[in-house]
Amino acid sequence: MNFYRWRILTGPILFGLQAVFILRGLRIDHTLFTGGAIPVPLFRGVRPVYVAVDSALPAGYDIQYDYDAGTLTLYRWNGTDWVPANSITDTLNLRVLFIYETMRAS
């Protein structure tokens, strides 16, 4: 069982001729989470060009999207630096904004 689960909040919303917005929910189960990257869903076979996470992250945590690997990584502030987190105290329910370039994909 994965420690994360994706859920669709909105369908693709067309912006102009080239891009779509998709808002998805991401749940990270703290009882299963021991660290690791989270692959993001593709849209028509392409990766997003922009991924942003909402502000529901607890203090001391942040999520970064690796555009090369196509994965999200949860980070924790250890007082001096951001380091990949390997545990969380509560299950996280986040919203993630995706922007895909449809023209390029087609």
Binding site: L9, T10, G11, I13, F15, G16, A19, F21, L23, V49, Y50, V51, A52, V53, S55, L57, P58, A59, G60, D62, I63, Q64, Y65, Y67, Y75, W77, N78, G79, W82, R95, I99
Partner: protein, 676 residues
């Protein structure tokens, strides 16, 4: 006148008579002479008949005697039977002229007995070798009764010689058999006189020898095998060896075997009673024996334990006193006394207690104190127990308190405890106790039932106690719990973190604090602005606090850093629990930048009204101010490009792809006319 006329006549008449009288004593023993004398008067004819009568029977008649006026002596020798006799004399001319004399015959029995060995007197207790000529010489006298000669339990009767029919210094020789080894007792009885003779017949002197020695120890427990061995030397060809043991003086023969010059074992399984044990072997012909002596000394074990409670309430129908009894190596019974009265006895099923372990129980039917004594008789061992049967009127009050589930929790969470008050005249009070603090939490009814209550954990952190008290009975029960902190701090700025410089803004934050009793310290660029203290109950519990400060103005060169600390709290990694908010400022605004800041843009397709949303199904961009524009442009840019683009175009919104970490890409939103 009449007297004168009386004539006196003298008439001479004859008066015949016989007179008898004793010369000797009238009473004497058999064989003695009874001497008497007689004379007659006025008898001149006929003769005198003298008879001896025993009862009415004439046993002897003297020859006829001529009457004689002088004394004539007569003699009669006394013969059996003993008793009285009569001397009767009469005149043949007229038997009515007679006389009689009474005498008696008495017995004076005498008996002596002595052994004669080889025709020589040898006393009354002799030891002779087999085959020796031995007889008993008995001398009897003064009795008309038979002699009883008892040899080996068999009585032989010897009558007195007849005549004279009584023992008169009579010598009776009775030979005895000396062909069989052994000890023989003889008894001679005459009337009330008994004489005893003993003869021991032993074998001929021999050089035969027998030896016995123990095989192992000579102190034995019950059930143990007492083992010895024997051997013989120089025995006769017809010799027999009798093996025996002597248990406390009583000799028991184990069997008879042929002699052996090599050691031969023999044994006996020891049984009660304790005492001496002798094992031996005897040469029957040579009449020699050898023995070894040992001791039967069992190591007695006796123990009694009370395995039940020493007291119970009479109202408890199944309660009883239960004892475990163990006993070993004793043949004596166990007596149980209750308050001095024997109520139970136990005896071993075999000859002795052989590692017996059993349980015995007793239930007195009345209230009281009972002293049980368990005595192993004759062993000087006993155990005593004092027990008590209680009446229902002395039930003791009690209060019990215990946690239901965990006893550790975080501030604000609930623990549960339960309390029971039994047999109490009053209710109990439960107090929260921490140091000198004592706070009444609950009053618990004294109904004997469990009552469960919540307790909300409060600062300070560490161990606290709950006291359950019943003052009337001076009862106190204590349980301890632990209060823990689980500090959390979250801060949400209520204003943009990237703003144009020199424009006043109000730093307003939503502060969420939980699980701590410490103050929240707010710093601006390292200077303490404010200290927030926990609510009235002393700790933060899912607390949400809106805090703002006076308006500030920033410059592009110097961000404003707000830091929020939970004072003296550390996280699991021993790091301070804090939140840092950095507000950055930019300069070189576009001409319409102000307009953009005050614009709201709603991304909706013109023809489509959103359905009543059950959840988010569209995207709406909210801005603080109204956004006016003819077009909105979205760009996705890398970090290196976005700053210069922003400065160049005055794009209104930059949305980084991370919240706090350095962004890799930005979503740039700008509005206005053509991008060109």
């Amino acid at each position: 006148m009449l007297l004168e006329r009386t004539e006196y006549v003298v008439i001479a008449t004859l008066q015949p008579a016989i007179t008898l009288e004793w010369v000797s004593t009238s009473s004497d023993t058999f064989g003695t002479s009874a001497v008497f004398r007689w004379r007659t008067r006025d008898i001149s004819t006929g003769h005198i008949v003298i008879q001896i009568l025993r009862g009415n029977t004439v046993v002897y008649t003297f020859p006829n005697r001529t009457p004689n006026t002088d004394w004539v002596e007569e003699t009669w020798v006394r013969v059996p039977p003993r008793g009285s006799f009569t001397i009767y004399a009469y005149w043949s001319g007229d038997p009515t002229i007679n006389a009689s004399l009474t005498g008696s015959i008495v017995a004076n029995p005498m008996l002596s007995a002595i052994w004669y060995v080889n025709n020589a007197p040898a006393g009354t207790d002799i030891t002779v070798e087999r085959g020796t000529f031995v007889f008993a010489r008995l001398t009897l006298h003064g009795s008309d009764q038979p002699l009883f000669w008892i040899a080996s339990g068999v009585a032989v009767l010897y009558n007195p010689p007849s005549p004279p029919g009584y023992w008169d210094n009579y010598i009776l020789d009775i030979p005895v058999n000396t062909t069989i080894l052994g000890t023989y007792d003889f008894t001679a009885i005459l009337e009330n006189i008994a004489r005893y003779l003993r003869m021991v017949v032993v074998a001929d002197t021999s050089n035969a020898q027998v030896e016995v020695e123990w095989s192992g120890g000579n102190v034995f427990r019950y059930g143990q095998l007492a083992q010895a061995r024997w051997r013989t030397r120089d025995t006769d060809i017809s010799e027999q060896v009798e093996l025996f043991y002597i248990h406390n003086g009583t000799r028991h023969v184990l069997g008879t075997v042929a002699p052996s010059t090599t050691w031969q074992p023999f044994s006996w399984s020891v049984i009660p009673p304790r005492g001496s044990l002798v094992m031996g072997a005897k040469l029957l012909i040579a009449d020699r024996e050898a023995v070894v002596a040992g001791t039967i000394a069992p190591d007695v074990e006796f123990n009694v334990r009370l395995t039940s409670s020493s007291s119970f309430f009479l109202s408890d129908p199944t309660a009883q006193f239960v004892f475990n009894i163990s006993v070993n190596q004793s043949e004596h019974p166990i007596r149980v006394y209750r308050n001095g009265t024997l109520i139970q006895s136990f005896t071993p099923s075999g000859a002795w207690w052989d590692s017996q372990l059993f349980t015995w129980s007793d239930r007195p039917s009345a209230v009281g104190i009972y002293v049980y004594r368990f005595v192993l008789e004759n062993e000087n061992r006993e155990f005593s127990f004092t027990t008590q049967v209680l009446g229902d009127s002395v039930l003791s009050p009690s209060v019990e308190i215990e946690w239901v589930g965990a006893n550790t929790a975080v501030f604000g969470d609930y623990l549960y405890y339960r309390v029971r008050v039994t047999n109490s005249v009053s209710s109990a009070q439960v107090y929260y106790v921490r140091g000198s603090t004592e706070l009444l939490l609950q009053t618990v009814p004294n109904d004997g039932n469990w009552h469960t209550y919540p307790f909300r954990v409060r600062p300070p952190r560490g161990t606290f106690a709950l006291y359950a008290r019943v003052t009337a009975h001076n009862l106190l029960e204590i349980i301890e719990g632990t209060a823990q902190a689980q500090p959390r701090l979250r801060v949400e700025p209520q204003f943009p973190l990237y703003m144009p410089e020199n424009i006043p803004f109000r730093p307003e934050f939503l502060i969420f604090v939980h699980g701590s009793d410490r103050d929240v310290l707010i710093y601006e660029n390292g200077a303490l602005l404010e200290r927030l203290t926990p609510p009235n109950d002393g700790y933060w519990y899912n607390s949400s606090y809106s805090w703002y400060y006076i308006d500030r103005v920033g410059t592009a060169e110097r961000p404003i850093i707000y830091e929020f600390y939970l004072e003296n709290e550390r996280d699991a990694n021993n790091q301070p629990i804090m939140v840092r908010v950095v507000v950055n400022f930019y300069r070189e605004r576009q001409s319409d930048a102000l307009l953009l800041e005050r614009t709201e843009f709603v991304a909706l397709s013109a023809s489509e009204e959103p359905p009543e949303p059950s959840e988010d199904s569209y995207v709406r961009l909210f801005f603080v101010y109204k956004l006016y524009g003819t077009a909105v442009y979205f760009h996705v840019m890398g970090y290196s490009a976005v700053a210069s683009y922003h400065r160049r175009t005055g794009a209104s919104f930059l949305i980084s792809d991370t919240r706090r970490m350095p962004a890799r890409r930005y979503l740039v939103i700008e509005t206005g006319g053509s991008r060109e």
